[in-house]
Amino acid sequence: MKLLVCFKIVADLDQLTPKDYVVEEKINIDTSFVKTTINCFDESGLEFGLRLSDEAEGLNLHIEKSALTIGNSQTELYLKSLNALCYDHTIRIDSGDYDIRFKPDAVGKAIVDYAEKNQQDLIIMGRQSSEGNNFSTPQVVAEQLGTGFIPNVVDIHMMDEHRLKITTDNNGNIYEQTVKTPVVVSVGNAVISKLRVPTLRDRMKYGSKEIEQFPLRLEDKSLAGKVRSLEYVDKSRSGQVIEQKGSEAVHVLYEDYLKRRLDNI
C-alpha cells in the first residue's frame, strides 16, 4: 500500500500578542519571529502514517509511506525528523515567495500533481490549519483525483492491503466504516495528537538522507474566494467594575447587566 501524508508547518500563534497582529502590505501578518510547529491535525496524520506502518508489519504487509509539505526551507528540519522516523520519502514543494495562506486550490493542485506521478492508495491530511482556516485542501485533492473521501477522521487502522477501518465523527456521532482504497481522508480531533520522537542516533543515522524536491506549478485560476482585507479582532472583554458593594452591588449587577440576558434564556 502506498500512503501519503501531507502536512503544513505553521507559526505558533499562541505566542503572538494582540499588538503583533499588524496587517502589512499584501495583507501579510508577520509571524516570522515566533516558533513554528506542525499543524496539529497534520501531526495526527503523520503519527497515523507511522502507526499504520507498524500495523502493516504485523500483517506481513508493506506500506511505502511518504510525507509531503509545501513551504520554505524552514520545513527542512521537520522533514529531516520524518526521515529519522523512517518515512520512506520526504518531499518538499518549495513555495518560494508565493503566498499560500488562502490558496487551497494551489496547494491541492500541487499535491494532486505529486500524487498523479506517484500513485497513492491513501492520502491523509488535516482538516484545517490555523492561519488560513480554509478547511478545503483535502476536498480539492479528493475531487481532482476522483477518489473516495472521508471527512473528520478520528482513527484509522489497517484491515488488509486494500481496506481500512476508519472511525469518523459525524456531528458528535461516531461511526466506524470499512473503506476501500484509494481514498483521501481529512483528520479532525483524532485519538492520537502527537507525533513520536526519533532518537538522537536515528537522527544522526538518517540525517543526510535525501529530501526530495518537487516543483510547484502556479495557476492563475482559483475557485477559492479572494481575500480583500484582514483586521485584528479584539476579543478582550470590557472589564467593567461595579462601584457599589454588597447588596447594592448585586442589585446594580442584576438590573443593569443581567436581567435582560436572563430574560432571554
Binding site: D14, Q15, T17, D20, S32, F33, V34, K35, T36, Q74, E76, L77, I192, S193, K194, L195, R196, V197, P198, T199, L200, R201, R203
Partner: protein, 481 residues
Amino acid sequence: MSLLREEIVEELVKICGQDAVVTDTEVLQESSYDRFRKYEGYHKVFTNPLPAAVVFVKDKKEVSEILRFANANGINVVPRTGHSATEGGLETIIENSIVLDGSQMKKIIHVDTYNMQVTCECGVVLEDLENHVRELGLTTGHSPQSKPIAQMGGLVATRSIGQFSTLYGGIEDMLAGVEAVFADGTITNIKAVPRRAAGPDIRHVVLGNEGALCFITEVTVKLYKYFPEYHVCMGYVLDDMITGIRIMHDVMTEGYKPSVARLYDAEDGKEHFSHFAPGKCVILFVTEGPERISKANAEGIKEIVAKYEECEQVDSKLIETWFANLNWDAARIEEERKEVLQTKNVCCTTEISASWSAVEDIYKICKERIINEIPDITVFGAHASHCYSNGINLYFVYWYNVVDCKPEEEIQKYHLPIKKIICEETIKAGGSMCHHHGVGKHRVHWIDKEHGSALYIVKKLKAAFDPNGIMNAGTILPYKK
C-alpha cells in the same frame, strides 16, 4: 509505637478543623510525589507510600502545633507550598506522612516602598507578588520558570534562582528576613536588616533547607525599581558552545552586569530557536535598570561580542517573543502530560555549576558519555543561564523515549543513570551537582562527595534541628530506617 493513620488525621482535625484536612485518595496520591516522578504520575502509578493527610495550615500557630505533635510521635512531615519541586523533595517516602501545605497562607502583609522590601506569607504565588509590586513600579527581580505556580515558602526552601539572576542574584541575595517553625514547634523570626555580623548568618540555616530542618511561614524579600522601558535585548547566533562560554566569561570578568545572560547549545536550542537558528547555538543578553546603566551594560556587552566574528546578531524581537513565552504555568504542565502519555517521550533536567576552567570539560564529557551510554535518547543538550565572576551554571536538558519499560521503572532505566553521569563528572571536576533545584531525594546518593569534609556541618545541622528525623525524611541526607 507509631500512630495509626486515623489517629493522625483525628489530631490534625483537632488542630486545624475538618475542612483543612484532606484525605481523598486522589489528592493523597497526587501529594505523594513531585515532578521528578512525573512519568509515573502521568500514568497514575504511585510508587511512594500514601501520606495520612494533606493539611492546609492557616497560620504559624497551626504549623507549630502540628510539628510538635509530629515530633512527639515520630511522624514524617513534608512541607509544601506550590508543589512545583523537581527533585523528589516532596515525595512522601514514609507511610502515613503528613503533607504540611502552606498554600492557603497567601497574604501579602506589607509592601515597604521606602525601605524597598515586601513581607508576605509562604503561600503567595511569586507571579501574584510580582504583579502586585509591578503596579507600584517595582520588581522582586526573581523570575524562575515556575513563577506562575511556585510560592514564596518553597522558593526560599530550595534556594531558587531566576532568569534575571545575573543582575539581581539568587533568592539568597534577595531574602532580607524570614520566619520559620522548627521540628519541636519553636517559631523563629529572623528580622530583615540590610546586613549584620551578629554571629553566622542564620538566614542560611533556613534558606535551602528543603523542608529538612523547618517550615517557612513568612518571608521578607528586597524590592528594586522596575524600568521596563530601558530593557535592551541582544541575541546572537554562533556555531560553537565553547566559544559561547568564553564570551560569557569575558562579559562577567570585565565587570558587566546584564540581568540575563543565556547560552544555548544547538540541541537544546532546537526546542526554542529553530525558526531562526536551526543547528546553531544562541547567546542572548538582557540589560535593565536605570537608563544610563542599562545602556552602558548593553554597549559594553556588544563590544565584547563584536570581537568574536562568528557571532551574528539577530532581531531583538525574536528574543523578546521567546522570553515572553518561557514560563511554565498549569496549562503548559497539562500539555506536557498529554504529550508524554501519547509519545512516551520525557524531558528531564540536571543543573550544575562549575568554575570557568572546569565547565567546558564537564559539558564535553557529559555529552559524550550520555549519548554513548544511555539508550533511547532523543535530545541531549544544555544551556547556561546564570553567570558569576568565578563561574557559570550548566542546565542539562535531555529527552528520551521510554521503551519497553513500566512507568515505575523509568527513573531507574533512564533518569537516574543520566543524573549519575552528570553529578559524578561535575563533582570530579570540582563543581557542584546542584545549582538551584535542590538535592531533593534523588541526589542524596552523591551528597557525601558533593560536600566532602563539610558534610559534617550539614549532618550536625540536621541532628541539632531535627533530632527525631521527622522533617522531610530522605531529603538532602539519605534516609536511614
